[in-house]
């Protein structure tokens, strides 16, 4: 008689001796607080990105060779376009589920990075980056910034009007890097903008293979290190200590929760992909270097760079007739590198400032670290305001607040608002903590009174 469960398990175990490992994995403990699920949303968006992306590569032609479009979309009929653009339009019009996949892919990219940003905030505001998890934090930052580049490449590959304008800005920002910018950007593009045809092959292989591979490796490393050090947890009860991990085992508790979240994430992304239009490239039309459209914008996750480019006062660093640092460098290169550097250095800076060098497995509630929380909110608001200014032209069109007025307001506001928020948030945190302590005192006193009364009653 063959046992359908035991026999295959024994077969595998006898040949791999994997049972102890699997047992360990199944008993691995997961946190059950909701905010710890944000990282999973990132992972599941990534899975949707890979799945839809593979489907797209089956039909996309990464070539700038010119061809004539004839097809169901009348406003383009008879126009000279690139193979890349034509294949992307055909993908949207003629391939089965092509448009659904393309839109879901794009929504997944937007949500992937949004979820990353939320995950980053959770980790930051709970102090989960502290020793012994600094490496996890650094790899996470690397993941975020690599994803920004990956998203930009995807946006650029399609060769529609928006992607061409995006590349032109990228080219300009690349050239602005002091000394090495010129040769480096020309090496990447192969020739002055719009570059050689090979540039398309380079973007394509980077977008569909190199960076996804890098992201997968980094995600693997990120998760392995999380597993090695375990999750952090809030001090919710006496059971939650620095030395004891409290949580739900992989099986049977966490597995259904994770599967549910995976399915829910995929459902949201595919619903968006099916119901809400994203990047209608057929409407934008093909790109040529002399064409432009008003109101062109990058995807949201690069909006902060556009904002910085627009907000930066106009000045270059020149030596005689030689421009050492052209203006786009400040907003397009230095600003994101500065944000990255601040975030990357933060664990060590905080350690230096607080003198706290201990290992931390308990996560802070944001109110319990007023200075960190206040700094985080201030820094976030600084980046956020610069991000908002990236949409100043739309704000003007919608609400009539003139561009110059906004420029003036934001150039002051990006410094004043974070400063004010710093002190407000710090105060709020301190008050909340004081209230918590008061409440604890009260409870302790009430318990003592209750005990005494009980003793009295027992005595009579």
């Amino acid at each position: 008689m063959i046992d359908p469960v035991r026999d295959p398990v024994r077969f595998i175990d006898e040949r791999t001796s994997a049972a102890p490992l699997i047992k360990k994995a199944m008993r691995y403990l997961f946190p059950d607080h909701w905010s710890f699920l944000l990282g999973e949303v990132v992972l599941y968006s990534f899975i949707v990105l890979i799945a839809t992306g593979i489907y797209l590569t089956l039909f996309f032609v990464p070539s700038t060779a010119h061809t004539i479009y004839h097809g169901p979309y009348k406003p383009l009929d008879g126009q000279t376009v690139s193979d890349a653009y034509k294949s992307a339009v055909n993908l949207s019009f003629s391939v089965k589920a092509g448009l659904l996949m393309r839109q879901t892919h794009h929504w997944a990219a937007d949500v992937f990075i949004a979820a990353m940003a939320m995950h980053l905030m959770r980790v930051f505001f709970t102090g989960a980056f502290r020793k012994p998890r600094e490496l996890i934090w650094l790899i996470g930052l690397l993941l975020l910034f690599t994803s920004l580049l990956e998203g930009y490449l995807g946006y650029s590959l399609v060769d529609d009007l928006l992607s061409g304008m995006g590349l032109a800005i990228g080219y300009g920002v690349g050239l602005s890097i002091p000394v090495i910018g010129g040769p480096m950007t020309l090496a990447i593009f192969g020739a002055p903008f719009p570059g050689k045809p090979e540039f398309w092959s380079r973007m394509f292989i980077t977008h569909v293979l190199l960076i996804p591979l890098l992201l997968a490796v980094l995600i693997g490393l990120h998760l392995s290190l999380v597993a090695a050090r375990h999750h952090t947890q809030f001090k919710e009860s006496a059971r939650h200590t620095e030395r004891r991990v409290v949580g739900l085992p992989t099986f049977p508790a966490q597995t259904p929760r994770s599967i549910a979240l995976l399915l829910f994430t995929a459902a949201v992304l595919f619903l968006l992909g099916g119901l809400i239009q994203i990047n209608p490239i057929w409407q934008w039309g093909p790109f040529e270097p002399w064409l432009a459209t008003n109101g062109a914008q990058p995807d949201w996750y690069l909006g902060w760079l556009i904002g910085a480019l627009r907000l930066m006062p106009s000045f270059d660093v020149t030596v005689g007739h030689f421009t050492l640092v052209p203006n786009p460098f400040w907003g397009g290169v230095l600003f994101p590198l500065f944000v990255l550097a601040v975030l990357a250095a933060f664990p060590w800076v905080e350690r230096r400032l607080t003198g706290d060098r201990r290992v931390h497995n308990l996560a802070d509630r944001p109110r319990n670290a007023p200075n960190r929380t206040a700094f985080g909110v201030a820094f976030l608001s600084w980046v956020f305001l610069i991000f908002v200014f990236g949409a100043a032209d739309r704000i003007f069109v919608l609400w009539g607040l003139s561009y110059d007025t906004q420029l003036f307001m934001f150039r002051i506001g990006i410094w004043v608002v974070p400063l004010v928020l710093f002190f407000v948030v710090r105060r709020v945190c301190r008050e909340l903590r004081a209230a918590d302590l008061l409440e604890e005192d009260q409870e302790r006193a009430e318990r003592a009174v209750a005990q005494r009364e009980g003793a009295v009653r027992a005595g009579t």
Partner: protein, 271 residues
Amino acid sequence: MTCRGWIKFRSVAALTVVVALGTAAIAAAQPQSGIVRPTYEPPKPSLKLGEQLYAGNCSTCHGIAGAGITRGRLGAGHVLGEGPPLRNVGAQGADFYLRMGFMPLRNIYSQPGPQRTRVLFTNKEIESMVMYVASLGHGPGIPHPDPAKGNLSTGLQLFTDHCAGCHQVLARGGFVTGALVPPLQTLTDRQIAQAVRIGPYLMPRFSPKQISNAQLDSIIKYVQWTNRPDNRGGWGIGNVGPIPEGLVAWWIAAPLLLIACALIGRRFKRS
């Protein structure tokens, strides 16, 4: 910034001073709009009515018989009048500015440039004034485009070449240094043709050598098509690109996923 030349007209609530120029009209002050009308208006559009309306409402800035006023001088309601000559703008220009509600200016300080606000004259009055302005010189007449003869694909191509840089590729409008660029969805065929030929405010004017009448038909066909673009991807969220897309990601997708996390996970509770 200032826009030289246009300036200096006010919707004057207390306008009692009647401007008497040429064969001046006796006008009744109409406080709401500040428009000066002759006491008797003929039932049909006429050159004479146009002349009277011009004298009462336009000449403070545009001068006697469309001569223009280059150096500001006080006119009706003590408004410092200053405005471009209208001798050779023809029926096209008068029809465009009056029918679109650019003129009369809502506010002499209206910046940047004259705004499309409200039409203060009746159809008959506008036709009369157009007749009058046309009679002042040798300007172009009102164009009569025929977009049915145009080609949609040529239209998109030409629109991207000449117009999208300011008007956005789906004619949703936008911003250029010094001006707000209007969306074009509400315009009539004739108004689009007039705008192309006139070049209001910062917009360049395109002669028939640059954009032929046949090409103009294609452009108009495309612009009218943008009223109902092919949103086969679903809800078009305004057809202006990534800004609304980012809003959807953060205000629809992110809350849904946060709710899912909150339902699946547990909330903080000290025990």
